[in-house]
């Protein structure tokens, strides 16, 4: 095919269509709407890794000048009195400035009933202390998968028999520079949300489900996005919407950096043990690997997902994968990408 036939290849400037907006600061991100006209929210997180919230007293916070509203776990869908990690949300404030909202958090009194917590995955696997998600064990996900036979002598035929063990990987806090944020406003029974997200349709469905609204009553606006890295979906929308509904005003919830580290998804920490049998020409004829992953508090995905990619990349006879996902009383996890 002749080069002239292409409309993109060989043409310059395809990546620069957004450039002028970026370098002049005119590209709009979700936080740039309703400047000077909105209330600011802040979120109070748990001090304990495993506990039950007995009471929340926000009277002192509400008495502060500039504080407009306080909601607690009983009013926000998805929040609970049962806490499984430090920083799990308990209450949220709406105030006339970010500073006042943050200062008000310190005035909220919370009464806790602490429970035994476990934050080390090796300790958690002993099941002596339960994280509280499941009644008998901290290991909800166990995968034992074999493909194309289990010949015990497969490794004997290999020219190279390689075995390695790697300890728990660093679990990055993979947060983007733009903190998670949402500005919400109710027009009657219709919800409008300006939210930092890579998945506006997912947020749209989420709002409709959370607030039991028909989908035509929810408007989600997209914006320039300050990246994602797998933790772009900080849970800001629900809080902003609840406070906006209760105050009748436009409420912006921009999660501050500390609470994003406590609540935003973090990379899984995985310990791996791998044995590979290969021929001199590079063909892998046997594979046996075992992963143990610290899933923190929320996700069941990695043990099922991590069993998939290698199957697409290589056709390996005598392959065996064993995976264990263990929950701990630590921050929720997600993928780093």
């Amino acid at each position: 095919m002749k080069r002239e036939g292409f409309t993109v290849l060989g043409k310059e400037g395809q990546h620069d269509k957004q450039g002028v907006e970026v370098v002049t600061g005119t590209i709009e991100v979700a936080d740039d709407v309703f400047l000077g006209q909105k209330l600011f929210a802040a979120q109070l997180g748990s001090k304990h890794a495993h506990c039950k919230v007995l009471s929340v007293d926000a009277s002192e916070a509400l008495a502060m000048p500039g504080v407009v509203e306080v909601v607690d776990y009983t009013e926000v869908p998805g929040w609970s009195e049962d806490i499984f990690y430090v920083g799990a949300p308990i209450a949220a404030v709406a105030a006339t400035s970010q500073n006042i909202a943050m200062a008000a958090l310190e005035k909220i009194k919370v009464e806790y009933e602490t429970r035994p917590a476990v934050i080390d995955p090796e300790e958690a696997m002993k099941d002596q202390v339960l994280v509280g998600l499941w009644p008998t064990s901290n290991m909800d996900v166990r995968t034992d998968f074999t493909r194309d036979g289990t010949d015990p002598d497969a490794f004997l035929d290999a020219d190279v028999d390689f075995e390695t063990e790697i300890g728990y990987s660093n679990n990055h806090s993979n947060h983007p520079l733009e903190g998670g944020n949402c500005t919400a406003w109710w027009n009657g029974d219709s919800l409008y949300a300006w939210i930092s997200t890579q998945n506006p349709h997912g947020e749209h469905n989420g709002f409709a489900g959370t607030f039991n609204l028909p989908r035509n009553k929810v408007r989600v606006f997209t914006h320039g996005n300050g990246a994602g890295f797998g933790s772009g979906r900080a849970a800001t929308g629900t809080v902003a919407a609840v406070l906006a509904r209760k105050t009748g005003k436009i409420v912006s919830f921009h999660i501050d950096r500390k609470h994003q580290f406590e609540n935003g998804a973090k990379q899984f920490a995985t310990k791996s043990k791998t044995r590979i049998g290969a021929m001199e020409d590079g063909t892998i004829i046997a594979l046996d690997f075992e992963w143990t992953t610290d899933q923190g508090m929320n996700s069941r995905a990695p043990m099922t997902d991590s069993n998939v990619p290698w199957q697409h990349a290589f056709k390996i006879p005598n392959a065996h994968f064993k995976g264990t996902g263990v929950a701990t009383n630590t921050v929720p996890r997600s993928y780093y990408r």
């Binding site: 936080d31 006209q37 006339t96 983007p176 903190g179 027009n187 300050g226």
Partner: protein
């Protein structure tokens, strides 16, 4: 004016630092601390959602932004009651008389941003970065970490690049403040802005305004910096996307600010 950066806060938390700084220089603000007029009190007016595709039926009623911009510097407007005056001194005298200091009364300050004067009401604790966005209505300055680590909120104060989140708005009075909005326009980009586009010195672009301000401060004094000089100039910035390898040549090959 204290140019406190990450290492200058003496190991304090940002909140402790702000409290101390507020006490230190709080006397320079007219009025008292605590409440902003923006959403709590203030005059009620009808505004339309800015920069959105909301239809007419979604016009919202909100309280006005407590901001007046004086472009010609011939009119000075009280951000709270909208009264106009000929001089800043008259406005300040009126503000002190009409809104006496007390709980729930913000202070009136004047900021010189990109050669325009902004008369804004602030609390002592309000940072320059937050004030630029929410009071001066200049959203080009982004807030990333809000604790002096990422550099996204960098602005120029009297030509020096400084983290906007670590400077109080009241500290910036009487200084010449420059933000990304003051560099160039979409049809007349500055050299370094054009160079960032040419080198694709960004991915998501959230950190870019801060990088541009530090690059501008460098290039004004040193139009042809070495790679090491460029690296040092933006060492206070984080680009999480990883565009650093394109940002450095965008600076060294800009040929000036």
């Amino acid at each position: 004016m204290t140019e406190k950066k990450k290492n200058g806060s003496g190991g304090k938390t940002r909140r402790e630092f702000l409290k101390d700084a507020g006490l230190l220089v709080g006397g320079t603000a007219i009025g008292s601390t605590v409440l902003l007029a923006a959403c709590g009190g203030g005059e009620t007016t009808t505004v339309t959602a800015p920069g959105t595709t909301v239809t007419n039926t979604t016009t919202v009623t909100s309280t006005a932004a407590a901001t007046t911009v004086t472009e010609t510097q011939t009119r000075f407007v009280d951000p709270i009651d909208q009264m106009e005056f000929d001089t800043l001194a008259e406005l300040q005298a009126h503000f002190a008389a009409a809104h006496p200091a007390g709980e729930g009364v913000p202070g009136l300050i004047t900021l010189n941003v990109n050669d325009k004067l902004y008369n804004v009401t602030v609390d002592n604790e309000d940072t320059l970065a937050w004030t630029l966005r929410e009071k001066c209505l200049l959203p080009g300055t982004k807030i990333g970490c809000n604790r002096g680590e990422c550099g996204t909120c960098t602005v120029l104060i009297d030509g020096r690049n400084i983290y906007g989140c670590l400077v109080l708005a009241i500290e910036a009075q009487g200084k010449k403040i420059e933000t990304v909005e003051g560099l160039g326009t979409p049809v007349n980009l500055s050299s370094v802005q054009q160079s960032f586009i040419d080198h694709h010195g960004y991915q998501c672009g959230f950190c870019t305004p801060g990088f541009l301000m530090s690059a501008t401060a460098l290039l004004r004094n040193n139009p042809n910096p070495t790679r090491d000089e460029a690296k040092m100039a933006v060492s206070g910035h984080i680009c999480v996307c990883g565009a650093m390898t394109r940002i450095i040549p965008a600076i060294t090959e800009a040929g000036g600010a």
